[in-house]
Symmetry: C2
Subunit: 146 residues, 2 copies
DNA sequence: AATATACCTGACTGAAATAGTCAAGTATAA
DNA sequence: TTATACTTGACTATTTCAGTCAGGTATATT
């Protein structure tokens, strides 16, 4: 059970955009260098984030990427859903609405996983991008007491 | 971001053992048939669960597998940690103690992920195997109000 | 003692996802 | 015009997953 690098990289990229919010766009190269992310790989991630409306791009020289809205309005969950797909942990192996599922009261999967997914989503959606900038140094207390 | 079938299958297997707790061992075949899990694949999962002390085996005819302790003493997290590896979502891509990490105050990964992992673990460890047997029918309320 | 039934072990494999790379575009501010 | 940016799609090596296969060892029953 682990996240791919996409979520990790993407979150770090968005973190840079959050720090730079309101100060114009950052280029892919700048983000790549500051967070040590392979440039061409980062392109893919930023494209997906743009398509989903989390970031905007400005073309041409002096262009780059910027958050599409205030950092406080985006959560860690928003970013991960875009890059990692839905937070769907696991479900019934068989198709959800099959007769087998309905007849078989022993199949515990659906109820259990949907409950767990719900709680996981709560955790991730409770952390905003603004919160990330408060993780530096000793200020991480804010996140911990929740 | 998704769990493998191992966690799903394994949890369903343990669920059968929980229902049968105190009534002697269940054979691999019985578990396999009741939860529709490939028999030889199930063997692997049960072996890992045994090695980690969650279940016990009895050899010979009339033998099989049984929980090693009261179901209330095991959590969903215990099972998943064995079958899915540690709930380690992601960390710094680079080695944890490298100079790079220490010098680079922009690296947000470690603090963030460790906090999220901690909360995920709380969710999973808060659900005991006994709770699973209460998921049937309308009795799922117990899990939901937590 | 034989044997059927169980557990135990390791090697193997097809399919899919990851983690990137490579090449060639299109748009636009200077 | 052109340098710099974003955009798109195809490609690939590696790893993990999900499951199979073949055989081995232990033991309660007969």
């Amino acid at each position: 059970m682990k996240l791919s690098t996409r979520g990790n990289y993407g979150l770090r990229a968005v973190y840079e955009l959050t720090r730079h919010y309101g100060q114009g766009p950052l280029t892919i190269r700048q983000i790549s260098e500051r967070q040590n992310i392979p440039l061409k790989y980062l392109e893919q991630l930023l494209h997906r984030l743009k398509k989903s409306g989390i970031i905007e791009s400005v073309r041409g020289p002096t262009g780059g990427y910027a958050l599409a809205d205030d950092p406080a309005n985006f959560s860690v969950g928003d970013i991960l859903r875009v890059l990692e797909g839905p937070l769907h942990l696991s479900g019934c192996i068989r198709s959800h609405d099959s007769d087998h599922c309905l007849r078989h009261e022993r199949c515990i999967s659906n109820i259990l996983w949907s409950e767990i997914e719900k709680k996981f989503a709560e955790v991730l959606d409770d952390i905003s991008l603004t919160d990330l900038t408060k993780l530096d140094g000793n200020q991480k207390a804010k996140l911990m007491i929740r």
